[in-house]
Amino acid sequence: MISILIILVIISIVVLLNLKELIKSDSKVKIMLIFFFITGIVLALAILIKLDRQPPNPFIALMDILKAMGLESQQ
């Protein structure tokens, strides 16, 4: 629980630090949309990792596919 709180605090600090620039930008809506979309992904991913419920790792899947194709790792 404390670690999730720390994540929230870190992300809030980053958002607060950028808030001035986000509000003052000429294309406010677009930049906020992208910024909060990426920040949302970070938050979701961080919480899921902390709860040990992260989505399946795409790189492990890629390595398995390569292995199935006969492209084995180096020895």
Binding site: V14, E21, S27, I41, L45, N57, L62
Partner: protein, 370 residues
């Protein structure tokens, strides 16, 4: 397409040296080639020069366009944006990989008690500060820090160079497969990432100088990697080099009477920092350009956070990172963005430029003037 010139060609070269250096100073770029690692470095550099020349030509014939503009010119508005997103994902992967390598190295070698998040945060905060401040700051920072990289390598190498026995390099080319494989790893993992400089090249002060400074950077990087590889084979031995995760650090520890292994850590901090800064800069700049936003700076911190989060997801521990490094995954991810798309861009731009020239020739001069 006239862009504001932000960096000199000297700064371009010095950023390129720092970028190529990345994490190569601590890991073994040609681990599978064992005693023939130096041949892999040589072959890898030759392939790398070809790749870099391709990227430089793409930039040259596009006459001042950056990567986003080139992709839009070649693949159309929608196609270009899709290709740009692929590039952003690749650059994000690069920064994640380098951040994670740095964290794992620091935990394994210098700060075993410190939480990984703290170490990674330090690197990412420094890198994102440089990326936020822009190319000029990255260039000027590199001017000060990057010359320390070869210096540290020279100090460690000269301190250990007291032997005249070179049997570690023999027999040569007993097994050719791993040598070629390692050469491709070096080419893709070090030189091929130069594709990111398509976002930087248009902001330098001369086209001719770009070629010269880039090839100088390649030469210096080659000298550094060759020195590191030859030293590790000579000092640690080809068999042990294959099993040790950080041979350069072990080599630095072998120097009697003095502990200069922090020099190797410093190398990683500078090289890794430059690489992460350039990657985060490119990701944010590309995102802002494809979505038509005037500012890229607020996106830097969000991409920096994403780099850390992705690192903990994709490479949860050192073993996974090591497994990924030894697999073909990196090469498979690199080939489309480093070779395939640039070749397509080169061909399409050539065809389009020819068409445009013909149209201009056919148009009567009075219409052109009018």
């Amino acid at each position: 397409m006239n862009k504001k010139i932000i960096i000199s060609n000297y700064q371009l070269a010095i950023i390129a040296v720092g970028f190529f250096h990345g994490s190569t100073s601590i890991s073994n770029p040609a681990m599978s080639a064992k005693r023939d690692a130096w041949i892999s470095v040589l072959l890898g550099t030759i392939i790398g020069i070809l790749t870099i020349t391709l990227h430089l030509f793409v930039s040259k014939i596009n006459n001042g366009r950056n990567l986003v503009e080139i992709t839009e010119y070649c693949f159309g508005k929608t196609g270009g944006k899709i290709v740009c997103i692929l590039y952003i994902l690749y650059f994000l992967y690069l920064s994640t990989y380098n951040t994670r390598t740095f964290g794992e190295f620091m935990i394994a070698v210098s700060y075993p008690e410190t939480p990984m998040l703290v170490l990674v945060l330090i690197l990412v905060i420094c890198a994102s500060y440089a990326a936020r401040s822009g190319l000029t700051v990255i260039g000027k920072t590199c001017e000060i820090l990057v010359p320390l990289l070869p210096m540290a390598v020279v100090v460690v190498t000269l301190s250990l160079l007291n032997t005249g026995d070179f049997t570690g390099f023999k027999p040569i080319l007993l097994n050719i497969g791993p040598v070629i494989r390692s050469a491709f790893d070096i080419s893709c993992g070090i030189y091929g990432d130069f594709v990111i400089f398509l976002m930087i090249l248009p902001y330098t002060n001369s086209i001719k100088g770009r070629f010269k400074s880039t090839f100088w950077a390649v030469g210096i990087t080659f000298a550094i990697i060759m020195t590191i590889t030859a030293r590790n084979i000579q000092i640690i031995g080809p068999v042990l080099t294959d099993y040790i995760r950080y041979p350069s650090h072990v080599a630095a520890q072998l120097i009697p009477g003095i502990s200069i292994d922090p020099l190797v850590d410093m190398n990683l901090l500078i090289g890794g920092g430059v690489k992460v800064a350039v990657c985060i800069y490119a990701c944010s700049k590309m995102t802002s350009e494809i979505s038509g936003i005037d500012q890229y700076r607020p996106l830097v911190s969000s991409y920096a956070m994403l780099t850390i989060a992705l690192g903990f997801w994709i490479f949860p521990n050192a073993m996974d990172l090591y497994r990924w490094l030894k697999s073909f995954g990196d090469t498979v991810l690199s080939l489309p963005v480093q070779i395939l798309f640039p070749v397509l861009m080169l061909i399409i731009t050539k065809i389009k430029n020819k068409k445009n020239k013909r149209t201009v020739k056919r148009t009567p001069p009075e219409l052109i003037i009018g």
